[in-house]
Symmetry: C2
Subunit: 344 residues, 2 copies
């Protein structure tokens, strides 16, 4: 058993010192980080720079289950999902603040593992941890991360710019994170009461990784930039493709047609859907937490998009009165619904 | 009984629409607020502008007790304590994001009351509500607010700039919010089991108001600016004077001498301390949540400080080796301790 230190032994300030020790700031826009009433940033001083801010709250028992989510992975994921929101604006994440509520069952070592994951994500994505608030909670763990980023004014991509005839594109593949959750839940059930239980993830490694350690699509934002493409609208797929398509269509005042046979789905996702006797398309449309980028580009960017790796053209934008439609393999039309993956 | 709407009737997106309806953005730096993956800001494009960020997490049962804290007051306070952190940097709060975790016992009307308080605070302090995340919680209410602000580079006031011989100043009076909490707790105990109980706050109105509806000292930041004073260090008194003095001394590598008879204490605070048989100075030193500003200025600013309303000179900075000392009424010297008002 590793050494365990009760949080009360360090106190609030001692704990913060320990958790944030060794955090170096790397982004030139960070002037002062942890250790004052607020962090201080100096962004590029031109009329073309926009500052972006997004926030996410994760609660134990709602968004994560610590029986199968290692704290380091949780920290990594909590940071990455915020970076994903900044990439979905076609921006660059630069700083995060971390709010934590922790109940008595957590030790200093637990929080160090969580912070290790947060710092790892920050290191990989080049984001600075600049502040936070750590407090006690009556029950469970609460994580609230806020991310600041920047973008050039001409790059900022909202949800509201999609236009009739625009192409609809999505990165990576969909439904795998949701299937990963099913694998983890299944093994949790199978393990009930067995302390020596070894979970069986054979052939499901990709699904489990997508659920436990998602990545934000910085590479896609970079590729778009290098290809000279500014999407007309963009959103990250956190609540499921269906829900995100409806967000874009509502915000842009348009409709859409997406084609079932074009939705990118990994082989492991398909196998798992069959094992669970679940409809694969439903899983891909409504399973959340993929953190892929869904975006629209003008028809004139077709050739550029076709050359991009890891991006799939799944449909096109229509006039609003044509509705939001999924075209099935037999040309049947299904109205998209915001079933989503909401926690309310 | 007022109409009650279950949150599930609206769903996440319907709820967010309802809570954020009617929020207008006023600050010219806010370009896009609620409704996208991130909010978009454009701060003044000069090399002299700094962006500030601070975050606070409040948890039910730890930071607030809904048996005596009205939700509207709670929302107001949750916003104001964040503004206070930006003022403590000698800056101006501009935007906030609000993360909420809510359990099933809360209705839409409850959250509307909470948001009413947040929006009221935003309106009064000229801050825009630009984003958030609302999710379910397994138990109780969680509020996480992040505040963005700006300051001129030459105005930014850290905790680390205090120098030997600097004067130590504090705004308003101390200990009242802590005494307000004692009043509320006393009435809660007295009310146990009585549905028709009417709490008695006679002669304690100021204390209760300081606890339930604190204000951030925007006026002091303005007065300092108009007097041409840039403090050498500043912090807001959220955890008690003693703890905040130690923060400044540690960050600045200095010591301090503060005088017991100079600590500003309201009459109601003194009366309540006597009723509770509590040491008044201990309450003023260690009682938290006053949200006054504690700052240091060079000796050369003495005359300017003496002219400022609502600011009291309570001592001076010394060399580090002289320690952090409270000088009592009989010239006895007491080492300051970071007893504080921590929730860990």
């Amino acid at each position: 058993m590793a050494e365990e230190t009760e949080i009360s032994q360090l106190g609030e300030f001692g704990l913060i010192d320990r958790l944030t020790s060794g955090t170096k700031t790397e982004d030139p826009s960070t002037l002062t980080a942890v250790g004052d009433d607020a962090a201080v940033m100096q962004y590029v001083a031109d009329n073309d720079t926009r500052v972006l801010v997004t926030t996410d709250m994760l609660l134990e028992g709602v968004h994560f289950d610590l029986t199968y989510v290692p704290l380091k992975h949780l920290g990594y994921k909590a940071a990455v999902v915020n970076f994903s929101d900044i990439y979905a604006m076609n921006g660059t994440p630069r700083q995060i603040t971390v709010g934590l509520g922790v109940s008595k069952r957590f030790t200093v070592e637990h929080l160090e593992a969580l912070y290790e994951g947060i710092k790892l994500a920050c290191g990989i994505y080049g984001v600075d941890l600049v502040g936070g608030d750590t407090t006690s909670s009556r029950s469970g763990l609460v994580i609230s991360i806020t991310c600041l980023g920047t973008a050039k004014a001409s790059d900022v991509t909202l949800r509201s710019g999609a236009k009739d005839t625009d192409l609809i594109c999505v990165s990576g593949d969909l439904g795998a994170a949701y299937m990963g959750l099913q694998v983890l839940e299944r093994e949790k059930t199978a393990s009930a009461g067995q302390s020596d239980f070894i979970p069986d993830f054979a052939g499901k490694e990709y699904l489990v990784e997508r659920q436990l350690k998602p990545e934000a699509r910085r590479d896609i934002v970079k590729d778009l930039h290098e290809a000279g493409i500014v999407p007309t609208s963009m959103i990250d797929v956190s609540d499921g493709l269906s829900s995100e398509l409806l967000h874009i269509c509502k915000a842009s005042g348009v409709g859409c047609r997406v084609y079932e046979d074009r939705i990118p789905i990994d082989y492991q996702t398909a196998v798992m859907a069959e094992e669970l006797n679940m409809n694969l398309v439903t899983a891909a449309l409504n399973g959340g937490e993929d953190y892929e980028l869904l975006f629209t580009v003008p028809l004139t960017d077709l050739q550029k998009i076709e050359k991009m790796k890891g991006v799939k053209l799944i449909g096109h934008i229509t006039r609003q009165e044509l509705g939001c439609v999924l075209v099935g393999r037999n040309d049947e039309e299904i109205q998209l619904k915001a079933q989503g993956f909401t926690h309310l």
